[in-house]
Amino acid sequence: MKHKIKVKVNGTVYENEVEPRLLLVHFIRDVLGLKGTHIGCVASKCGACTVIYNGMSVKSCTMFAVQADGGEILSIEGLAKNGQLHPLQEAFWENHALQCGYCTPGMIMSAYSLLETNSKPTEKEIRKGISGNLCRCTGYVNIVKAIENAAERLNK
């Protein structure tokens, strides 16, 4: 039996009827057409699907869309405002913190959440904060640098 859900994504409210088993990530990608959130694994380890749900970072592959009923989601597409990139996006760009770009949206959303809860994280805290996001291209070196850099920008 399908369920009616109402979800706000990047400021827009969507009303849909979905199967209970529809994963939130598939809802975001295939129903809403927002392709920036990615799928990289099957056992909830890679974090490429990370979005902000009700103010907290979550793995959208490990939630059903029905669980998000009445909730609010911020995905990568909602981060830049009026064409202005978020300091995290700027910092990732300037510090070469992405190569293939596939883990990047999830990584940035995790970093976004980290900086919301801890505005001056140490390197250790950054590494722990993004431990739910796997990257195979960068070795994380520049990602850590970018997050430190973004923190500085946000604290100005």
């Binding site: 990289g40 694994c41 380890k45 770009g101 739910g132 070795g139």
Partner: protein
């Protein structure tokens, strides 16, 4: 040069940062269907029956595909195992399955959820057969035969002899003998494989979108195997979420292509991670029986190797090139003149192997660098000294190795010296002594390597005359548009290497414009991009062969532009140069025409052009690296194009209670010739090193005796997180290659190839008081704990 050599922000990044990249799963086509693949749960079994009735009746399922149909509709892929009378490598098992994960049937449905559900309704009856997983067991007589008609499981065997090994061993003062084991692991890009195939029966055309690394190289092969005329086959690679050699599998494209041909509608298939682990490819596991002949002064005279390479169930193209490729690095930085290699590729009931970042070189370096360390220990020489004594010296370049590789340039002593300086080596050794007395075990590992780039396709001649291939080519196309803006394209299929930026940097400098004025076509499209049959992004190749193709295409246009300007401004073409976006007489800024003016004339006003000049400003160039050659009668051949080098130093602490290894410092000094964008070079090194650390410490594909992969998800296959990843310090040298215009060398795999060896070296060094010798990877804590306990 305004842009070459500068670490500018990448042009391709914006779309990735805002979630607007176009990866394969982002593409939707009208009337597109979704495919799901049923895979064998057995490692070895006869297929008695495939009953698809349930699937065909399943609501939402539109069509199915069986192995029998595949064998009728397509040609089998070549296996260079010449004992096989029947080439039986199809994209689906026909009468027998040979590895867990081998496709047995496929279906298409209206959405991916239904397609997945419907797989349960396919009934397959198997007759299980005995399984062989260990390659040494597979070589024994009486072992289960993976391919019966071959008569045994040795898919490839050859003996290579360079120099005079017997003489060298007679002259040796010492022989060092050891057995090494290198394990199987895989680079797991975060994006899995995906294919969309669209067969248009009205046009007889097939278009395949796939995140595939070898577009140009395998375009013809794909069209042949799918029985589609090559000029009606279009292959498109969109943005690719990481490759590392793991996206070189043609079998998925064949399968989905056939489904689309059968149903006449677009079909999409996206691999899930578990499928990727059991059905894609893996790096091979290898056993080396090695001997080195050494003089008492440390000179290494010869190496003898017997290699057993477990290539899995099929000798999948391009195997056994994974072995031959390693000849590019088998002698490393050293002047070793004599080499004997007895090489076996063995079939077992495991996933077939393929290129895995480093492609064959990392295991050979494990052998070589471990031998060098062990030789040093035997002679009482520090690992730095033993290497110094065997280095090819800077004045000896270009240097031809015993196997025929022409190392173009390098300064190995300086690379090592710089790394030692960055590591504060002498201080670290003193620190080590002090800490040992406090019961803390720190170790320092050193490795020096040559990084080959862009294979010479003539390497296939080493294996067979039946594949006449040669060269190391790349193609580029440049167009100055009527507006003066510039468009460029190359045949690479980038997966994060930043080619849109690097090519723009080259073109911008050639035309003295800003990189903002240059648009590099993303991805690869066989219909719109220039390409050769070596094209793709693999084997660290781009900067070895790409820049020259781009530059020479630019210069063809510039030559034309200077002729046009000379004609209009009444001067000689040779007096012109590009300056600040203007076609200008050297030293006379007033005698200049804008790029827009010249291109405007070239397109809109051909009557103003010099007589007999072809209108337009567009040129292509195919570059073939000048030192590639054919094997000589002694089977010596230059197997690659450029040869970079690097030195890696790892400082580790081993916790002896638990066996856990912590990396305290990791230093790389890399020499990849002239760097176009140093920031992207560092990025490749960081990523490569972490791949090597993963492989060296914790990543391992674990098969049981039934051929089941026991760790087929990221829960149990241990990709390093940011917590395990160390900081990686990188230094550079730039000794340009004399064989291309800019002196650039290919790079990308170098970070990954010495890393397991250098970590083994560091751990062994840390545990010197326990007298432990390390001959295997990965360096799992329990293994280290066990070795310590046994002392």
């Amino acid at each position: 040069m305004a842009f070459i050599g500068k670490s500018i922000k990448r042009k391709e990044d914006l779309r990735f940062l805002v979630g607007k990249g176009t990866y394969i799963d982002d593409i939707e086509l009208p009337r597109m269907l979704h495919a799901a693949i049923l895979r064998s749960p057995y490692a070895h079994a006869r297929i008695k029956e495939v009953d698809l009735k349930g699937a065909l009746e399943y609501q939402g399922v539109l069509n199915v595909l069986t192995g029998k149909e595949v064998a009728e509709m397509s040609n089998p892929a070549m296996q260079m195992n010449f004992k096989l009378k029947t080439q039986n490598a199809y994209c689906m098992a026909v009468d027998k399955v040979r590895f867990v994960g081998e496709p047995v049937a496929a279906l298409v449905a209206t959405d991916r959820y239904i397609a997945n559900d419907a797989l349960d309704s396919i009934d397959v009856i198997y007759e299980p057969l005995p399984v062989v997983v260990d390659p040494e067991e597979a070589m024994k007589s009486g072992a289960p035969l993976v391919h019966e008609e071959a008569g045994d499981n040795t898919a490839y065997h050859d003996l290579f002899h360079y120099g005079d090994v017997e003489k060298a061993f007679k002259e040796a003062d010492h022989i060092v003998k050891e057995r090494f084991k290198y394990h199987s692991y895989t680079s797991t890009p975060i994006e899995t494989n995906g294919v969309i195939a669209d067969y248009d029966s009205a046009r007889g055309t097939l278009t395949i979108w796939a995140n595939f690394q070898l577009g140009g190289m395998l375009h013809r092969t794909l069209s042949d195997l799918l029985k589609i005329p090559e000029n009606k086959f279009r292959l498109i690679t969109p943005d690719i979420g990481g490759g590392f050699g793991n996206k070189c599998n043609i079998f998925h494209m064949l399968l989905i292509g056939l489904l689309s041909i059968k149903i006449g509608r677009p079909v999409k298939w996206i691999e899930d991670r578990r499928e990727n682990f059991i059905g894609n490819m893996r790096g091979s596991d290898r056993i080396f029986e090695s001997e080195a002949a050494v003089k008492k002064d440390g000179t290494i005279l010869a190496i003898k190797t017997k290699l057993i390479d477990n290539v899995g169930a099929y000798l999948r193209f391009p195997e056994p090139i994974g072995i031959i490729r390693a000849f590019q690095t088998v002698l490393g930085c050293y002047k070793i003149k004599n080499l004997l290699m007895d090489l076996y590729a063995v079939n077992t009931n495991t996933l077939p192997t393929g290129p895995n970042r480093g492609y064959g070189c990392q295991s050979f370096y494990f052998q070589l660098e471990r031998l060098v360390d062990l030789i040093g220990k035997k002679l009482g020489l520090d690992p730095v000294e033993i290497r110094r004594r065997n280095f090819i010296q800077p004045q000896e370049f270009p240097y031809t190795t015993a196997v025929g590789c022409i190392y173009d340039s390098g300064n190995f002593p300086e690379t090592l010296r710089k790394a030692l300086e960055m590591a504060d080596y002498e201080k670290m050794r003193k620190e080590q002594e002090k800490l040992r007395k406090e019961g803390k075990y720190i170790g320092i590992g050193i490795s020096t390597i040559v990084e080959p780039a862009a294979s010479n396709m003539a390497e296939f001649f080493i294996v067979t005359e039946k594949l006449p291939l040669s060269g190391a080519t790349e193609a580029a196309k440049v167009k100055v548009e009527p507006s003066g803006k510039i468009t460029a394209a190359v045949g690479s299929c980038p997966q994060g290497q930043g080619h849109e930026t690097i090519v723009a940097q080259i073109v911008a400098d050639e035309f003295a414009v800003n990189t903002d004025d240059v648009y590099v076509l993303p991805g690869f499209d066989s219909s719109t991009h220039p390409w050769t049959t070596a094209s793709g992004t693999w084997g660290s190749r781009f900067c070895a062969v790409g820049p020259d193709a781009v530059i020479l295409a630019c210069r063809k246009i510039k030559e034309k532009m200077f002729k046009i300007a000379a004609h209009i401004l009444h001067d000689k073409p040779e007096n012109f140069e590009m300056k600040d976006g203007m076609v200008q007489v050297k030293g006379i800024p007033q005698k200049a025409l804008s790029l827009e003016a010249v291109s405007g004339m070239a397109y809109f006003h051909p009557l103003i052009l010099p007589p007999d000049m072809e209108p337009g400003l567009e040129a292509a160039h195919v570059f073939n690296f000048p030192t590639v050659n054919m094997p000589d009668d002694k089977r010596r051949i230059n197997l690659a194009t450029t040869y970079g080098n690097s030195a890696h130093i790892a400082v580790v602490e081993v916790e002896i209670e638990t066996g856990q290894v912590k990396i305290l410092k990791y230093i790389v000094v890399s020499d990849c010739g002239k760097m176009i964008n140093p920031m992207t070079v560092d990025g490749q090194i960081h990523g490569g090193v972490l791949h090597g650390i993963g492989g060296g410490l914790q990543e391992e594909l674990i098969y049981d005796d039934d051929g089941q992969l026991l760790n087929a998800t990221f829960v149990d296959y241990l990709v390093p997180t940011a917590v395990e990843a160390p900081n990686i310090e990188v230094g550079h040298l730039e000794t340009p290659s004399p064989f291309n215009i800019l002196g650039t060398k290919g790079m990308g795999e170098g970070g990954a190839i010495p890393t397991p060896a250098v970590l083994a070296s560091a751990v062994e060094d840390a545990l010197t008081p326990f007298g432990i010798k390390i001959t295997e990877v990965p360096l799992k804590p329990e293994k280290i704990w066990k070795s310590i306990k046994s002392k």
